[in-house]
Symmetry: D3
Subunit: 247 residues, 6 copies
């Protein structure tokens, strides 16, 4: 069940039987020579929509822009400052809490968001703790790319060529979700250099000239993407059930 | 051409021939008994994607959550505070400007966003004017629902029953874009009360008990939606060309 | 009754019989060769003070600086960033609400303020809606220059030479309010160029070299100003009574 | 010379011969049984306008609302949060600096503003110091009520009954500037209690039930006000000349 | 009793008998050729710790970084913007208030903090006054360097060579607190120039080339520092008792 | 070499030979029945000071208050909101960068700070990336409690009774650093419950009634603390050298 496709009476009915929601969050940033700028949003969104269809959980609108300052030297990358993203997440969560949602589960596709999302959770809870407000509010972040099944699949398919940005697994999943956007682009070198992304945009581009980090996404395929979707759905569903305390 | 489906080298190539971009912006809010929570994002997104396909203009990711505080008494509505939305738009625009985009055209689906989007434009320009920074940067807001052709079509199809929120026209367009989400719901009264939305959420719900403002969206249809898409595409394309100074 | 000239016991007594207040808001910005930098504040202030005298409504202090970033390339123009102006209006409104004012009517003299003032209203209401606070609070913006009577008078006196910035009508009204500051300055060209003000300060000055937009304020006169005051007072009083629900 | 009454070419001409400006800043807050809500803005404004007329120095628009949170339990008092007032002053100063003003002299009427105005000066300078920006920018705060001549006059006229809020001297000066607003109100007790204003609004009203602090403003008169104006003009002009380095 | 060295049950027990706390606040900034960068934090901290030991009052953690933008042209100086420092103090105070502390006494070592600390107090109280929250909360700032006994001691030891920054008294006290960091450095000129620190960092360094303002800290000694500690402890304890209403 | 104990000429000389600095960051929060409120600041500070003494690296002032909102239900705990802590770290880093520091290494003692510190790093870099500013600036976070040697020592000494908050290892280290503050307090139960700290303050106290998470800090000792200091110094030095690219 997608919030965007529901009416408010349908949401009201949903809240009678459940108070959890899944919110996909990604980024709009370069993903190397053959990866889509929207990869990090498309992947968790695809998994979240599948969860919504298969399990009836409500899925909120995708936060398409994340914290991607280090990618700004590549055309098309967009970023929110961490302080902006914190404000966005705070307003989103407080809006949901007003309706009675008690468990908000962010399904994330971008490593660069992790710190800021967790800081946003703390910002929301700090306002409550400082003002002495009560009431259940549980917040969780789940990174689809770090799920056990997905990790194992990537290891079996790509080994070390999976990499850490513009990975073969995320390119596969985004292609499965958007087959019209598959690109065949030669990679040189085959496997990109590795290193740290803790730097500004110009330095990032110096370190990673074509945008990839340690990956060979020429190994990606739509067929692999179908398998990553299944792995991601199982990983995320397991995490979500644990989060809402459902066996 | 959708930014989300492009690679960074494709964006780099685009910037060689054009420096304009269209960014859909909507809202996540109740749209009455049969309208989708995502209506205001789905409509401009559908028009923008059609523009991207037909005319090759680059289309950025949809800003799905807008300024919808007055709808918060209906389950499922989300809002950003104006100050948060200003920060989001500022970061988005500054990111685009860094890449060399000179014309950013926001294609909007929600009346409640208008003031804040214009304030955000002024915020961006004020920073530049106060700091004495130079360089071309043009910002425009186009409300698809206010285009001439769309207005005329709504008038001819619905007359006064078009209304001003959860309108028959926007419900039609959103259904055309998402036919799987069409809902048949009886309306009572047939045409909703009219009034001002300049109030807080509780007061809004008192004024407009089922969320509609002056509309009868039971008149909506997928077939109408197809016609609103065409009208919207023509209206928006005309406005965009004028904006970028292209005859 | 001007708040600035009242004692607190007088305000307390006023609140026993009325809970509405009028707050003039303007701008401090260039108004062409013969227009005063304070025009946009002087005009609504003059109308508001007349309303206060004639009808006993309380009039708050004038917000003299507004959102005028596009005028910064002309000496003497001051601007608040939209985010700053939002904070100012929020604090002003919340202060008034604490005392029991339920209807705050901003009487505005500057088109560039409109978006930000409306965003500020939404900011105030969003805080209330998100935090679930209740209590009547109605906010209105009235642009004196857009009132029907004033528009008709300007049309009859100046036709197209009224223009849209440094207009003949506002120069007239400001001169009536401040006859000691009347300036006779030749205009060249007689009628200034037209165009959009949606840009930064340097671009604005390129488009409008002497600061006027489409106007010929050499047509202005103190005598005209007296008539604009009357028109403005009637327009604003009508709007205010509608706002507070008084027949 | 008042900025509000000047044209931009007049400001441009002024900047050829001087780069200093005086900006009155006050507060909108209760001033006891017979003092005006606008007292703290009216007093420095009157002095500043006299300086402008007599000495040709440019006088900016009065900042009528200041930091007056402790007065909020008395109807009519308005406050800006310190963070808001800092933003207002920052934008004002940066606007002025863009035009080439190098010396901004705030002529203040409210003790409660002092800390925040000085913090605002530091905020502006901190941005410059952190970003390594250069260029002369001098900022000064002058409290008219603390000038030597004014202090001596108050001592000679009222002795201890001058007090520290709703003082006889400021009531006199405001009445001289606004003779139409003189009020004759009995005081009980004749001299108000003394104490600290470092507290919230409810506590302030408990400490100072009618709003006065240590004063007997029934001693005030328009004739005294005329003398306070002269004293204030001399005190402020001396301070201003020292500030701009003029003998 | 130092908060840093207490357990939470010990703090809980303390709150049964007292609700006041002392928080040292300083700065991290150059203090001339022989003064320590940490002087302004070390001095009030030393006094506060002595108060904690001798009188059992709880002492919070030292705020080591303050508002020192004007010192940034000297290596090692750090500053918080006033807006940042206000946020820090607000969060600190609100945290303490949540536990039941009613009297928070900041023991300050840096003149440049005074305005911002007072603005922070007003920010905290303004939030309470605007939102109508109640409950006792008293906030005080005490500058150890302005205490009567300390002033008299400095006058007797150094006369005019005490100065106003990198003073002989504060260097003495910091050396007493940190004897391992005593430096013997020749001064030239013996007594530094005087002037105003109301400027940006580059201008400050032009005015005060070695960082001292009007002082000759070569007169400082550890032995003097011991006497300043005693004077400071007596001055501060007297002020603290007055603050909490204890005879 | 401690910044607090250095003069500015000494810092200037340091910058000739090195451009890295270590900044301890902790928290002020409850640490169970026998742990000190200052534990999280005392531990990294002790390690950092030892590094400064042994290896000559400059050590900045300790940031004593961190993000500890979840501990606010225990008396004595203080928190900064994440947005406040981000501002503090931004100002600190930008101050250091102005002096020419290129490598800032935060030595952290509190798990709850990790997300916010990383978000702060991204905030600083985002400002640079969005504004196109250049120049080397490397930022690192090292958690002393996660170092390999320290982990192994805790495992060997305490096994599972080490826990995750108010751990035996950090209590030991803080006692070694502050032997005067050692407390002998019986624990009940011996080993505290485990669980997640992702919640607000009231919920945290419900989950962890005496403040410990999974630990038995009655196992702590000063002698153990000496060993944790050695392990921590080696772990941190290794990390710091890798960070600054020194073999």
């Amino acid at each position: 069940m997608r919030l965007q496709h529901a009416t408010w009476p349908e949401v009201e009915a949903y809240l009678q039987r459940a108070t959890g929601i899944i919110v996909p969050i990604g980024s709009t940033e370069q993903h190397g020579p053959n990866g889509l700028v929207g990869t990090d949003a498309i992947c968790p969104e695809a998994i979240a929509w599948a969860l919504g269809e298969r399990h009836g959980v409500l899925v909120g609108p995708t936060q398409a822009i994340g914290m991607a300052q280090h990618h700004l030297a590549f055309p098309g990358s967009l970023t929110l400052r961490p302080s902006t993203l914190i404000a966005v997440l705070r307003d989103t969560i407080v809006s949901l809490a007003r309706h009675g949602f008690t468990h908000v589960f962010f399904l994330n596709g971008h490593g660069g968001n992790i710190a800021t999302v967790n800081a946003a959770f703390a910002e929301v809870q700090a306002e409550r703790s400082l003002e002495g407000r009560s009431g259940e509010l549980e917040l969780a972040l789940f990174n689809w790319f770090a799920g056990r099944r997905g990790r194992e699949l990537a290891e079996s398919l790509y080994g070390d060529a999976e990499g850490s940005h513009a990975t073969a697994s995320e390119v596969s999943l985004s292609w499965f979700a958007r087959p019209e956007a598959v690109k065949q682009v030669p990679m040189s070198p085959r496997v990109a250099p590795t290193g740290s992304a803790q730097c500004d945009a110009d330095e990032f581009r110096r370190r990673f000239p074509d945008g990839r980090m340690g990956s060979d996404p020429s190994l990606a395929s739509v067929e692999h993407g179908a398998r990553f979707l299944e792995a991601g759905v199982e990983d995320a569903w397991e995490a979500y059930r644990a989060f809402i305390g459902q066996p």
